[in-house]
């Protein structure tokens, strides 16, 4: 018996430790913003750290007596190469839609800084060049500041790695933690009581078993207390459910797009310039969802074939797509960047493939620019500029005797 009670005790301790530490520790619980944007964030952080250091290095060469040493010049060279590489990485980030405006600006700044460092190196190879040094330091400081601002715009200083980044995420994470604490305490309490009972009332030589009808009081207590907890949870979560799922509580915004799930991809249809979905000027994309940071966004969710589920893990949004139904889904995001859209309902053999990219733009302008560019790509090649003569000429059917 003692072995059993030890086993229970140990289980309770390990489980408690797991509950307490695991969800708040690393990124395995739910994909975090930082995990999805890891590469872009790493680039920004590297620029933040190293351009400052490089600026200091250059600064130190301002008041040299003569030409810089070969070692110092080598340092400048590697700094220039590093800057050129960052410019390429930033360009890729912008292409992928991670803060595209900021990334583009940073890219041009990195290119400028690279040039400034190159000319400083040129000048310092000959003799002291305070002006060139000044310029390079200025360019590097500017780059660092903008990188810092970009980081600040997407992650909160000192915030948890998994800081909730949408209205739904705040409500759901709060409920999750609350329920976790309640069930965790209950679990520990039950385990503890079981250990005590096993330890104290285990079989002992010479002790007789007691016959008992049970205790009404205790039975009422262990029925009413869990019941009360459940009723509390049921009522307490109503607000979150209503905010996330009730159409009546949705803000009055036009749907951003129509998302149709099919085996095994998300086909997305954005309204074109006329603002209407279902017309000839719509933009059709596959596995590519775009919306704007800080704006409540509604999509219309449909399914072409079987049940799918529209799951935005970082935004804590999940909604089943049901064939024959047109379901509005509301979400928003506080942070710009790239996220994932997954299918969370086993829909067939290719279920694992059903993954889309989500790009949250920092401003409406950024989104509009993306939309216009995509529409242009979809309309490739563009019709000739609308000069009335050209159109008229093209519209006249050629007669039979054209040859």
């Amino acid at each position: 018996m003692k072995a059993w009670s030890l086993l229970f005790g140990l289980t309770a301790v390990i489980a408690t430790a797991a509950f307490v530490y695991a969800p708040f520790d690393e990124d395995w619980w739910l994909p975090s913003y930082r995990a999805t944007n890891a590469e872009a964030m790493a680039t920004l952080e590297e620029i933040d750290a190293r351009s400052g250091a490089l600026a200091g290095e250059v600064e130190a060469m301002r008041d040299l007596g003569g030409p810089a040493s070969a070692e110092q010049l080598e340092g400048l060279d590697s700094g220039r190469r590093w800057l050129a590489r960052q410019a390429v990485r930033l360009g890729m980030m912008a292409d992928q839609g991670f803060l595209s405006e900021r990334s583009r600006e940073l890219q041009s700044r990195a290119a400028l800084a690279s040039e400034a460092v190159a000319s400083a190196r040129e000048a310092l190879g000959i003799g002291p060049a305070p002006a060139a040094v000044e310029e390079a330091v200025g360019a590097l400081e500017g780059l660092r500041e903008r990188a810092e601002a970009a980081i600040a715009s997407v992650s909160e200083p000192g915030g948890s790695l998994r800081a909730p980044i949408s209205s739904a995420a705040r409500q759901i994470d709060h409920l999750y933690v609350l329920i976790l604490v309640i069930t965790g305490l209950t679990f520990v309490g039950v385990m503890g009581a079981m250990v005590v009972a096993l330890w104290r009332f285990g079989a002992k030589p010479g002790r007789k078993a007691v016959y008992s009808h049970g205790s009404l009081k205790v039975e009422i207590a262990w029925t009413v207390i869990p019941g009360a907890i459940l009723v509390f949870l049921a009522l307490y979560q109503l607000r979150a459910w209503a905010d996330i799922k009730f159409k009546s509580s949705y803000p009055d915004v036009a749907p951003l797009a129509e998302v149709t799930a099919r085996q095994f991809q998300w086909t997305i249809r954005y309204p074109g310039p006329d603002g209407q979905i279902g017309t000839g000027d719509d933009l059709h994309t596959v596995n590519d969802l775009h919306f704007v940071k800080g704006q409540p966004t509604i999509i219309r969710l449909k399914s072409d074939d079987v049940l799918h589920s529209f799951f935005l893990p970082q935004l804590r949004i999940k909604q089943d797509a049901v064939p024959g139904m047109d379901i509005p889904v509301l979400f928003d995001a506080d942070k710009a960047g790239r996220f994932e859209l997954l299918c969370a309902e086993l829909c067939g053999w290719g279920h694992y493939k059903m993954r889309a990219q989500v790009t949250v733009h920092e401003t409406q302008d950024e989104f509009d620019e993306w939309l216009a560019r995509s529409l242009e790509e979809q309309d490739y090649p563009p019709p000739p500029a609308s000069d009335p003569d050209g159109v008229a000429a093209a519209a006249v059917p050629p007669g039979p005797g054209v040859e």
Binding site: R85, Q86, A87, V88, R89, G91, M92, Q263, F264, Q265, T267, D274, Q276, I277, G278, T279, G280, D281, H284, V286, N287, D288, W349, G350, K353, M354, R355, A356, Q357, E377, Q378, D379, Y380, P381, P382, P383, P384, S386, V391, A394, A395, V396, P397, P398, G399, P400, V402, E403
Partner: protein, 455 residues
């Protein structure tokens, strides 16, 4: 006390046995997996070669010598035109004339260190094999359950190309297909799943499988000129080997290399024509064959209502019956054979060059398999769809603008069903009203009058 000890010993023994058991299962799980081999053309194991064991052995041996017997040991012949000599097909490469096996690397733009490539072979096995099969024969485990069937690469024919009818696709064509998928089929879009460099590796591997399949097919043809006994000895083998080399280097590889040439892409003969009601009406007349100057056969396949129910094809009911309803066991081609027989009896079309069932596109649905850009539709109409009865129209049409009129018509049809079916005119209500009100009635009227005029 004695009993307790005995019980403990007993328990320990059980524990020991359990450990051994779990260990054995784990070890069995870790043992070398069965090697995956490239499969050979089904004809080689069929009736055709039942009496010709030597021919079969010779063909299989030569193909394996040229391309490797299995994906894990694949070989890339000289002159394929694959980037970096085909090194991106695998993660590890043995350089010619060396015993060293080295990893294949790639330096992403902006990166300091090169990263290792997984290789097209490994990526293909993870993402494509279950439909397209180990050797690219379109016979993966999930293939029988799909319609349309997955592409069989071994003929080297691809439907959605920017090149002339029957010509190889460009890398860009394959890239578009892998990135965007094929709308209306089971081919998913891989853009969100794969890095650009991974897509390039897959393109390499798809081309590699095509090269292998084409060489194999050509050899099967060539082997029919040999008596089976001649291929029993080394002498006949050597002769066939030389023929294979000639075919590969002289015909098959150059065809693919030509597609890599930027000049292979068909450029529109005239600049794009704006989608005006007049242009759409002209496209409609061309489609219906009611234009006075040019007669096209669009309606024969796509039907007068554009639903893909033209008279040259087997009717949709029979088609659906044998492809979907009666096809209880999709791994058995019985139902499709029946469909083929019926189609031949009635002298109707029923499938494509790969022997898979096919229907002409329903143009009312707005599902464009090869892409919805105007240029994509231009290529479909101008150069046709390789492997299907959709012909190239670039020579049929005298006025190059007519191609754009057809494109404009096809793009407008899903929005304006009244173009072909006057009864389907949309009432100007709901979300579609704006577009229909803007373009619909005007174009409808023009289309109607043009049709009457030509009648």
């Amino acid at each position: 006390m004695g009993a307790w000890r005995h019980r403990r010993q007993h328990r320990q023994r059980w524990l020991g046995l359990l450990t051994v058991g779990i260990g054995a299962i784990a070890l069995a799980g870790c043992s070398e997996p069965e090697p995956v081999l490239f499969s050979h053309d089904a004809r080689l194991s069929g009736e055709e070669f039942a009496e010709k064991p030597n021919s079969r052995r010779a063909i299989e041996t030569i193909v394996d010598e040229m391309f490797g017997p299995s994906p894990a040991l694949l070989k890339v012949p000289e002159g394929t035109g694959l980037p970096r000599g085909g090194r991106r097909l695998a993660g590890l490469v043995r350089e010619p004339g060396s015993d060293q096996v080295v990893p294949v690397t790639y330096r992403p733009p902006g990166a300091e260190q090169p990263v290792r490539l997984e290789g097209g072979q490994a990526l293909y096995h993870r993402h494509c094999l279950h439909c397209h099969g180990v050797s690219g024969d379109g016979q993966g485990p999930t293939a029988p359950f799909l319609y349309p069937r997955p592409r069989d690469y071994r003929r080297g024919l691809y439907k959605f190309t920017s090149t002339d009818y029957g010509k190889k696709p460009t890398r860009d064509d394959l890239r578009r297909t892998i990135s965007n998928g094929i709308d209306g089929t089971s081919m998913p879009a891989f853009r969100a799943q794969l890095e650009p460099i991974e897509i390039e590796q897959l393109i390499d591997y798809v081309i590699f499988l095509s090269l292998r399949g084409e060489v194999e097919r050509a050899l099967i043809e060539e082997a029919s000129f040999f008596a089976d006994e001649d291929l029993a000895g080394e002498e006949g083998m050597e002769e066939l080997r030389l023929i294979a080399e000639d075919l590969a280097q002289g015909v098959i590889f150059p065809n693919w290399r030509d597609a890599m040439d930027p000049g292979a892409v068909v450029q529109p003969l005239s600049p794009r024509v704006a989608s005006t009601p007049e242009s759409i009406a002209r496209g409609r007349d061309l489609f219906l064959g009611t234009s006075a100057d040019v007669k096209l056969e669009c309606v024969g396949c796509h039907g007068a209502s554009g639903k893909g129910d033209g008279n040259s094809w087997i009717d949709p009911e029979t088609f659906n019956r044998y492809v979907f309803l009666e096809n209880h066991d999709p791994t058995d081609r019985g139902a499709l054979e029946k469909l083929r027989e019926i189609a031949e009896q009635r002298q109707r079309r029923w499938g494509d060059d790969w022997g898979d069932p096919l229907r002409p596109a329903d143009l009312n649905r707005g599902v464009y398999k090869g892409g919805r850009r105007p240029i994509d539709l231009y290529w479909r109409i101008a150069t046709g769809i390789t492997g299907t009865p959709m012909p190239a129209h670039v020579t049929t049409l005298r006025d190059p603008d007519d191609l754009w009129h057809l494109v404009n018509f096809v793009l407008a049809l899903p929005q304006q069903p009244e173009l072909l079916r006057p009864d389907r005119a949309r009432r100007p209500t709901g979300s579609a009203a704006a577009a229909t009100a803007a373009a619909g009635p005007g174009s409808g009227a023009t289309a109607g009058s043009a049709a009457t005029a030509s009648r």
